[in-house]
Amino acid sequence: MTKFTHKDIPNSAGVGLKAQHYKNILDEKPPLGWFEVHPENYMGAGGPPHQYLTAIRELYPLSLHGVGMSLGSPVERLNPEHLARFKALVERYEPGLISEHLAWSTHEGVFYNDLLPLPYTDETLNHLVNHVNEMQDYMGRQVLIENPSVYLAYDDSPYAETEFLRQLAKKTGCGLLLDVNNIFVSASNQGYDPYDYLAAFPVECVGEIHLGGHVVEKVEEDDKSISEILIDAHSTAVVDDVWGIYNKLIGMIGAKPSLMEWDGDIPEWKILYDEAQTADGYLAKLDVKVTA
């Protein structure tokens, strides 16, 4: 399988591949730049997941976006079995990009299946640097690291997230995956301006953008006032505020691979495809502006 090399993820919209859409994609072969999967769903020996992914990989470039490496764990070394499983998929599918998260999900052998928050300190930076280096050395290539959506921060966290990621990229040579919905969710939950975050972000390191939806929940605070929590559920369409951040970002850095993520309440294929078309629409307007 050498049809696409790792240079081949285009600076256009891609879609997070869901099992519900395998047949639509193979039947319709829609014009679309690329697909992304969570490698953890393809770590079985065989079966329909591999059969479909192989067929789709013949038609489109692919990105592997890990959710289980737990780079933010306070351990000496990453899980060697998980590294080996991940690398086997890199060798099998020759993805154009591979990525992971600024988060942790495993502690003392238990996998929590969520991207849990870290304090941003010298100690945690040192761990992240070691773990990103270990993963990149093992894979033999660059990994992109994604900014998290957070609901709580740590009191003792001297680095701003943007500065933490800048240092991480500088010390490891990793790229960054900037999720613009996560910027919006975290900014709202933490009470800062998403455009300030964007202005401080090391955008020169961004190799991929994520777009997704969130849900809003009401919460009664300790003083009885009502406020909102934004939850990064990936179960709805992208909201206008997030498109706004996206448009600003691509205005700063130009077109980049832009992924539409939809992981819960998964809609019919056409709705997801139309969302990707919207992203391509923003990128097309950018081209016009650049040429003009």
């Binding site: 953890e40 065989g46 079966g47 997941p49 959710v67 306070p74 502690h107 740590y154 009470g191």
Partner: protein, 255 residues
């Protein structure tokens, strides 16, 4: 600040066990309800793992309904959280847990249905291998045929049950659970030769025959054992079924 590892320890204790207090040192915006925000993480973890179990055990879930299943799943997750980041493998101990679950007694077959779903999923994700056709047997002389031993497909397994698990599976597939006689017991053979996982029910003598073949006994030995169980054992039917299910990937003669 506290040691990084201690912080993760306190965070995870509070995640799965709501009686543990939210760890100190977490902040949000002004006048924050920290507990409610920590609950987002608790809910994300628990809801995603309940969903993972529901995806892995769709028949158990359909049999008991969403509310009962959620209670069962939450109890299981608290005692047996996943240990590897591959959720399609999660739930190996779920059948045993169901068997011990206090209010599960009204559905005594539920544990075996969960076992069947574990076998189904193992077959679904098993290694690929090409099955061979029954005509391959003709290459061997009649004397050699009784000494044949069989290479078995990596996805193949047998499940014995005291409950009508094949009928329950079939009822779920067809959407008609109406006619299942719970007084019967069924054994099932499971295999995925290509895309679809195939199931067939085996009566007691056929089950003995399949077991022997899958354990590496010769055709003659397997036939003998099955005929001992039932002297009217239908060899040609079971032999055909072995190949029709795609169980056989190679043949050789045992000297």
């Amino acid at each position: 600040m506290e040691d990084f590892a201690i912080l993760h320890q306190k965070f995870t204790e509070a995640l799965l066990k709501p009686q543990h207090e939210v760890p100190e040192g977490l902040i949000a915006v002004k006048a924050p309800n920290i507990g409610r925000r920590f609950d987002v993480y608790r809910n994300n973890v628990m809801a995603s793992l309940v969903d993972a179990l529901k995806a892995n055990f769709p028949i158990v879930s359909a049999l008991v309904g969403d509310d009962f299943f959620s209670g069962l799943a939450v109890a299981y997750i608290s005692d047996n959280p996943p240990v590897i980041p591959m959720l399609f493998k999660y739930g190996v101990e779920f059948p045993a847990f169901i068997a011990e679950y206090p209010s599960g007694a009204s559905l005594p077959y539920l544990s075996d249905v969960a076992r069947l779903e574990n076998h189904w999923r193992a077959a679904y994700h098993a290694e690929e291998k090409q099955s061979i056709d029954i005509t391959a047997v003709q290459k061997f002389s009649p004397e050699d045929q009784m000494n044949l031993v069989f290479e078995i497909h990596p996805s193949a397994s047998i499940l014995k049950s005291g409950w009508p698990i094949y009928s329950i599976w079939q009822g779920h597939e067809s959407g008609d659970m109406g006619q299942i006689n719970l007084e019967t017991s069924e054994n099932v053979v499971i295999c995925r030769p290509q895309v679809n996982v195939m199931l067939a029910s085996l009566n007691e003598d056929a089950c003995v025959f399949f077991r022997q073949i899958m354990n590496g006994q010769t055709l003659g030995e397997a036939y003998g054992a099955a005929a001992e169980k039932n002297e009217e054992f239908d060899l040609s039917y079971s032999f055909g079924q072995l190949f029709a299910m795609g169980l056989v990937t190679g043949l050789s003669v045992k000297n």
